[in-house]
Structures are given as structure tokens and as C-alpha cells.
Symmetry: C2
Subunit: 340 residues, 2 copies
């Protein structure tokens, strides 16, 4: 067995691919090949990862015996097919979210995992690579706020400029809830300790890009199998003046206290990230956990590759998050509030 895990990359359409590769390399993996149908974007990628070799087609990666793991951030509706071929080629798969854009694709991935024994990781960065989210989960597990009863997640994002064409296609991107929402459902399931939940309400609307195949706001209500409820708002309406991509917040209510996360900035207060506020019987507690919380996701992922364990993420929960996002999106497609 090789000393180090080797990974190759197929599809670099979404910027998360940089975090995914960076995390794996920092945890000791070696990057080998990259393929994308846009050679220009590969040039920028190579500046960041100069040891990574460009290949002219994905097949060279599928057939490479040295590659253990395929990292994929292709256009969302193409990720499933690449994942299936990867797993059938004996590789594990590490996919940007949203990993699928239809429930049919989700079922195909689940079946392929079962049939091949391969692992399909999804990079829900807003949970697995977010220090405040991980810290909150720890506080909950320590019982600091009693039993969790409600979780509200606000996931506003800047739209910015230079979004690619596929971003403005619901079919290719999966839609706002599938895309941004999947992160949030995964958080909901982890904070509430559920492996399954139901969508009780969802709605989307398009205010800023009239006539385009796009929604700039999406909302969902969800109810875990244990009765805990949640609300998620996603949007692409944040002003460019904000110092971060979005003023993401989480509010977790327990029977004995509550937690608020100001994940990326403490708007109006400071630009420090990873702010955790907790109020319980001992009083009010607030700090940035940037310097005191580790992210062990990538270490765990590489451990899972080697020892066939399930430390990085609970796959049932991970697929359940995608299922919730897809169902909420489908429901919302029938329930659009405005497109003026």
C-alpha cells in the first residue's frame, strides 16, 4: 500500500474545489491529475497546484491505478454521472455540494455506493469546514442548552459578478435550495441529531434577475424524525459591500438555552469570523472560536479512505441532506412566490 493517498480532480467549475484540494493536501494526500473541459480554468488551477498534471480526458483518471480518490466540482447536474463512473472504476469520490440535482441521481449514487463499496463524500463546507458550526455541535453534545428543539439557518450570499452561464440554469445548477440549501439541511440534521427529516414547506422567488432561469431567494421548513423543527432561508441578495460572501447565521434553541452563530463576520461589531454566542443558565457567553476549534474533516476523510471507516461524515445523514434539499426545491418549483 502506498504511504500517501493520491487524488485526481475532474471538473473545477466551482471554487470549492480549491478548498477541497487544499484540505486534502494539508492532511497529507498527493494531488496527481486534473481534467476540465475548459482548458483556461485549468491554467489558474495549475498556478495554485503546480504539481498537478493536466490530462486531456477524464478516462485517463478513471483508469489510473494510482488514483484512490476523485475530487469533483463539475457543473452540478454532471457530478452524479462522474461519481458513478468513478466508483465503478474503484475510486472513492469527494464531491462539491450540491452533489446531485435530481432525486433520480441521488438514488443512482446510493445504489452505486452499495454495489461498489466505494465512499461518496460531499463537501458541505458550511458544516464540515466551519469552526463555529463544529463548536456549536460540541456544545450541543455536551448538553449545554438542553434538548435542541428548533434550528433556524440564514444563508444569505452575494451574487457578485462573473457567475458562469450554468449558474443561471435551474437544470444545471439544481436551483437555489439544492445548491445553497443542501449545506443547511446537513447542518440541521447534525445539530438536531437526525438521520432523516421531512420538508413541511418551501418556496422560492426571483426578484433581481427578471426573466432569467434563476431564483434569488428560497425558504424551507423542515421537521426531523425526532420532532425538532427548522427553518432555512437562502438568498443571493447580499450587498457587495459586505466583507464576506454572506452574513451566515444559525440560531439553535434548546430547552435550557440557545446558541447563535455569526459564522463569517460579526456584522457591525467586528470582522472576526466564527462567532459563537450561547445563553444558558450560566449567563451569556460570546467568543470567536477561530483559534480554538480544529477542522478534522480532511484528516478523517483520509483515515476513512485507508481504513474503510465512517469518521468524516455519516453518509446516511449526508444523503438525507441532499434528499431534503432536492425535495424542498421540487416543492418550491411548484410554489414560486414572485417572478416579476
Amino acid at each position: 500500500m502506498k504511504d500517501k493517498a493520491v487524488f485526481s480532480v475532474i471538473g473545477i467549475k466551482h471554487g470549492h474545489v480549491y478548498q477541497m484540494c487544499d484540505g486534502l493536501i494539508k492532511s497529507g494526500a498527493v494531488i496527481k491529475y486534473v481534467y476540465d473541459d475548459d482548458v483556461k480554468s485549468v491554467e489558474s488551477f495549475s498556478l495554485k497546484f503546480p504539481t498537478c498534471k493536466y490530462v486531456e480526458n477524464a478516462d485517463s483518471i478513471f483508469s489510473d491505478n494510482e488514483t484512490d480518490l476523485i475530487v469533483c466540482a463539475d457543473i452540478p447536474n454532471r457530478r452524479c454521472d462522474i461519481g458513478v463512473i468513478s466508483m465503478r472504476s474503484g475510486k472513492d469520490f469527494f464531491c462539491a455540494k450540491a452533489a446531485m440535482t435530481t432525486t433520480e441521481q441521488l438514488e443512482r449514487i446510493k445504489t452505486t455506493c452499495k454495489e461498489t463499496g466505494r465512499k461518496f463524500f460531499i463537501y458541505y463546507s458550511e458544516m464540515v469546514a466551519n469552526k463555529s458550526a463544529l463548536y456549536a455541535e460540541k456544545l450541543i453534545k455536551c448538553g449545554k442548552i438542553g434538548k435542541v428543539v428548533n434550528v433556524i439557518i440564514l444563508a444569505p450570499h452575494k451574487l457578485g459578478e462573473n457567475r458562469p452561464e450554468w449558474f443561471f440554469s435551474r437544470e444545471q445548477s439544481g436551483g437555489i435550495i439544492t445548491d445553497i440549501g443542501s449545506h443547511q439541511f446537513y447542518q440541521f440534521l447534525r445539530y438536531t441529531g437526525n438521520e432523516s427529516a421531512k420538508i413541511t414547506y418551501s418556496i422560492t422567488a426571483n426578484y433581481s434577475r427578471i426573466g432569467e432561469d434563476f431564483d434569488d431567494i428560497g425558504e424551507c421548513c423542515v421537521r426531523g424524525d425526532n420532532g425538532v423543527t427548522g427553518y432555512i432561508r437562502t438568498d443571493w441578495l447580499s450587498p457587495d459591500s459586505l466583507n464576506v460572501f454572506g452574513d451566515g447565521r444559525v440560531f439553535i434553541v434548546g430547552t435550557e438555552g440557545y446558541i447563535e452563530l455569526r459564522k463569517y463576520t460579526d456584522v457591525g461589531v467586528s470582522e472576526e469570523p466564527d462567532n459563537v454566542i450561547m445563553v444558558n443558565k450560566n449567563g451569556v457567553f460570546k467568543k470567536s472560536v477561530f483559534f480554538c476549534q480544529d477542522i478534522d474533516f480532511f484528516d478523517n476523510l483520509l483515515y476513512d479512505l485507508k481504513y474503510r471507516t465512517e469518521k468524516a461524515m455519516n453518509f446516511t445523514q449526508s444523503f438525507a441532506a441532499m434528499e431534503l434539499a432536492l425535495k424542498a426545491q421540487n416543492n418550491a418549483n411548484e410554489n414560486r412566490s414572485a417572478d416579476e
Copy 2:
């Protein structure tokens, strides 16, 4: 015509009555009589309002020719009957929220208003007497965040101790959404410029008072006639350690920016109330508006009494808020998440 408006009080079951009387007196009205079936509570009331005379039955107030306005903070399900008699006796009426506990009561009040020409004010303090809420409304009207598209209101409350018996009866209190939620629906309508809206989802649960006729959490989704959506969470789960009755928040998303209110405290940051945060193309703006926002509700109410205008509140909006709260509560009564 008398120089000053005269008001009398029927029912002092809810603490809001102190703010209501105080506000009227500060704006120049004169308090005359008080009636409550619990003489003990009248004693405390008289300490605060020593010129107010106790009467042994409500009829003495209904028949008092000098009383222009009756203030009522009786048990919620008794407020409607008192309001109807008051208005039929030629008095205007100023009612604590929730002003009604059933849609039948709401219809009765509306009919009585029409038939008598009397005014029925509801004290939605979290809007009409809240400086940050009033300031936000001004910012919206000035177009500072473009067109409003979504409003989220978190209305957590401490349960505390010494709640009266009626508080733990859904029939008498109206339930958590009717009670706390009515404030929030009124805010939703004002921030979004709607006079009418629909409930799209609601749910309640009881985690802390197992077996009691009570819910400690209630959530609602709402959609205004203009398509703007909202989510409201009410709860009685705030820890006693908090320095205020609840860490009330409002998040208003517009097409060109967003506003957050930290209404009663800036949790973890400072104990200053009335914090307004706005992010728009000009950057991030944060301040406490405690010293720079007036509350003109009581002045306007007295003006309305005298000149028969509608400056203090839009009654269509006020009744619509109660209607939404009652409908959301009714729907939630069929949709309870947990009662363990």
C-alpha cells in the same frame, strides 16, 4: 369638549397595562377609574397610578359620561366582550394584545366598530412602542434596502415564574401564536406594506411543561398579498439569566440590502437596546436608536380620539395581524410537533 382625554381601565391581568396607561398619561390623558375582579392586583396598580379610583364593577365605567377611552388588559378571551360593551357604550377602546382569541371574536369586534363608529386600538408594543422597529420602518420607507422581499422575526421570551393560571389555558390565553405572534404579524404587515396576507405554514410544540395546556414554541410562515414572505418563531424558552424578557430579532431582506434589529439587547456585545444594523451599497451601519427615535403612538392615539383620524395605527392592518395570528394558531393546533 374637555381639554384632556379621560380614560378608565377594565382588567389589569397583563403587565402591558402599565405601559399603556403610562403612555397615555405622558401624552396628556387623565386616568379616572380602574376595575378588576382581583382587588389585590388593583392595590399594586394604585401605587403606580394613585389618582385612579377603584370601582366595584365595570358598569360604573361603561356608564361614566366623562370616560372617552377604555383601556383593557383583562384575560385575553374576555377582552372582546368588554370591547363590544365599551364601544356600544360610546367609548373608544384600547386593548392589550392579543385582543381576541377566536376568529368569531374578531368578526364581532369589526362589526361593532362599523356599527358604532368607535375605534379599537391594539397595543402591539413590539412595533408601536419599539424604537428599533419604528426606525427600521423609516429606513424601508426611504428605500434604503430597495424592495423588501423577506422578513424573519424571532420572538423568544422568558417564561419566568408567577405566571397566572389563565396563562396555562389555551382557551383563555389564545395560545402562544395568538399571544406573542400577533405582535410579530403586525410588524410583518408594516415592514412589508401589506394590509393582508396568508398563513402558509404553522406549528407548535410543548417541551417544557409536559401535560399542561400550553405550548412553549410556535412557528409560522406567511405570505403577504404583494408576495413578500415571512417566518416568525415565538417561544417561551429563554433562560432566566438573560438581562431582558427576550432576545427579539428582526431580519428584513430587501433587493438592495438588509436590516437586522436586536431589539432589546445586543446579546454578548452590550446591554444597549434598540440596535439597528443595516447593510446596503454604502456599507455596514450599526447603532442604537434609543436616543434618536421617538415613539409617537400615544400622541397619535389621543389625536385620533379627538379628531376621529387614523394616525396611530391602520386598523385594517391591525385586525389583519390578529386574523393571521388566530389562523396560524388554529392551523398549528392541528399540527403539533411534540408534547412529550
